[in-house]
Symmetry: C2
């Protein structure tokens, strides 16, 4: 077969414990302050030194108050802390919501002895309900006292909504001969689709990077990771990825021209890619992680667009849930992606099994297909045979459980 | 409240029995030829006289063989018959599929004594499996013998796939002092989304219309009706709307300049609109018809785009299924429609109940909202307060049953 199932060339890294608190100079905390009934709902991540900061935000026209505030604060290029509550999105809350988001930054700044402009604010949860600021205020005060290098896991738990598992990772690599760590936590389960969905990811590193270089690297990495996953095609009002690099690893700062910037970028891709896939695997009601590889495209943009179209097709996603080798739906979803291609050249693979060739069905081994689709990880490959470009996107199956979760989330 | 729940100004028409065989000079048949296990699976609609013809087709890049053949045949401007099988889409079937679609037209032409170019061919059902041409051949032969003015209902049944109810309608109106009838049958249950989904609609009329005028009227009508519904966001490979106007009502032919063309256009909208909504109501697993009215938009295009974005949001659709007044999801889906608007001006209504104003939630009567959402027909209104334009789109809720149907359709 023409398409290798395993992708080569991805570097591997040494994983270390501690997630966002693993890099030098970072501490974290997560606790229950009463926004959710029982579970942790406030996370705080703090850097001992001022950290270069970069962020990306939801593309939704409707943006929650914390998105506006954090965008403003990150524009300064540096941060000291990230504060995030779950249970309430502070979205569609009008002028009061903006005041509350600013107040969250101020309260955090006061508790830490930093400037409000050095605090990123994030919220996730129910839309349209004002934040209970008394709980937030006392919660931030408590969180500041709980900060520790052991607090990464608590922070990961405190940003969860319908997530079933906390998502955290930290790795170690070497830059300019110095050990460098990158740690991250993330949440995301529903409203997940390219261009930021209700997904939050907070990344810390002790690498030394100039803000402009960091912003460039982060933008590219988000594009290749979080923006290539889809759970349900909805893009939320609250998404953000915030990265803090405090330079405490002690090497000379990476600039845009530095060849070692690529070393950092690859490691960041590794961390973000792993967290992005863990979001899909934990997608609302999901039972399978579906990797969609579009190869032989004229451009990477074409490949991404076709991959996204397939990744958001309810018909493809229910077929995968039913372990049905319904390649016609895959080809059909490619067809309405808005990309020009010749349908009569397209090959479709389920796992390693060629099921359609030159746009027409083959009489393939149904038992073998069933076996492949029975696995928790499924790879679908669409070969357009039109050029050298490729892209991979990830989605999950669409299940009864998804409907159940979302038919009764708010009330 | 600012938004009237009932839309005014829609003319009403006298309904008559017989659907596609109701207009003068048309006969129809529907029978079981063995493509499906038990149910009828071949439909034939024939006009005694040559009829002006117009059609619109799926916008999917992957188009089934019958779409190619019918597009070619309709280009001549005239048709005598439409033949349609269900149970097999003749899509992704390669060169054999093209030969089979042409053969369907030839067999029909031979049975009726007309030219193959005067026959429109349609197929719907499973993708990627060759048509069993022996069954098709004997089936067409039988269908030609069964043709009658009573056959409309049989034809409506024979084009069904996962549809639960046949969809048919005929109305009578007056044009230039002569009684004119318009009849139609349609199918569509899954893969339903704007720009043609697996939906087929065949419309007959004894009105006299020049082909160019007919094509213009049909294009506009499809845009306002079938292209404004969404069941699951998937656009199929096989969709088509074919209209035949045989002129046997005996009035002077309508041209593009004729003021009475608008009378016909409105009646055609009525028929297509009713069938489009019946498709949504019968959407796979649907329990509710959801009408989404976007008003106060700068342009109709903006309104349609926002309406479509809301209509395909799984989160909105599951909330409606759960009878949950989750207006935040509605506003969120408007936000990622790709249309510029000020989120801080938007009002959202559930039925007549204002639930969000100027982009922020109100503390509305939850019991009243529950009552409205408990009805089988739900109207959602989004007022952008940005201009005079409006558009209405229709969708259905997303249910356990949808997942069940689509997790096991093919095998």
């Amino acid at each position: 077969m023409a398409v290798p199932l395993e992708q080569a060339g991805t570097p591997s890294y040494k994983e270390v414990p501690g997630s966002v608190a693993a890099p030098r100079g970072f501490r974290a905390a997560g606790l229950h302050i009463g926004l959710k009934r029982y579970r942790k709902d406030l996370a705080l991540i703090v850097s001992q030194e001022r950290a270069a900061a970069a962020a990306t935000f939801t593309t939704n026209r409707v943006q929650a108050a914390p998105v506006h505030v954090t965008r403003e604060h990150v524009q300064g290029g540096f941060l000291r802390a990230i504060v995030c509550n779950s249970g309430n999105a502070n979205a569609c809350t009008g002028p009061q919501g903006m005041a509350d988001a600013r107040r969250m930054a101020e309260l955090t700044a006061a508790a830490l002895g930093v400037a409000p402009q050095e605090v990123a604010v994030a919220s996730t949860g129910v839309i349209g309900v004002p934040l209970p600021m008394d709980k937030i205020a006392s919660g931030i005060h408590k969180a500041a006292q709980l900060l520790s290098t052991e607090g990464g896991r608590d922070a990961a738990e405190a940003i969860m909504t319908t997530d079933k598992v906390p998502k955290e990772l930290a790795i170690e690599l070497e830059i300019k001969g110095r050990p460098v760590r990158i740690g991250a936590i993330a949440k995301g389960s529903g409203m997940i689709h390219p261009n930021m969905a209700t997904m939050l990811a907070f990344v810390t590193t002790d690498a030394a990077i100039e803000p402009a270089a960091l912003q460039a690297v982060v933008r590219g990495s988000v594009e290749r990771t979080y923006n290539r996953i889809s759970v349900d095609g909805d893009t939320s009002t609250n998404d953000m990825v915030v990265v803090m690099a405090n330079g405490m690893a002690g090497h000379a700062p990476l600039t845009l021209e530095d060849p070692e910037l690529e070393t950092f970028a690859q490691a960041l891709d590794y961390v973000n890619g792993a967290l992005a896939r863990s979001m899909v695997r934990d997608g609302e009601g999901a039972t399978k992680l579906v990797e969609i590889r579009v190869v032989g495209a004229r451009s990477e943009e074409d490949a991404v667009q076709i991959g996204r179209s397939i990744s958001r097709s309810n018909l493809v996603k229910t077929a995968i849930y039913g372990e049905d080798a319904n390649w016609g739906r895959i080809l059909c979803a490619a067809g309405y992606a808005g990309v020009e291609f010749d349908p009569n050249r397209v090959d479709v693979y389920i796992g390693e099994l060629l099921v359609a060739q030159n746009g027409a069905g083959l009489s393939f081994d149904e038992a073998k297909a069933k076996e492949i689709l029975h696995e928790p990880d499924v790879v679908l490959t669409v070969d357009l045979k039109a050029g050298p470009a490729a892209a991979t996107v990830w989605t999950c199956d669409l299940t009864y459980e998804y409907v159940k979760i979302n038919a009764s989330y708010r009330t």
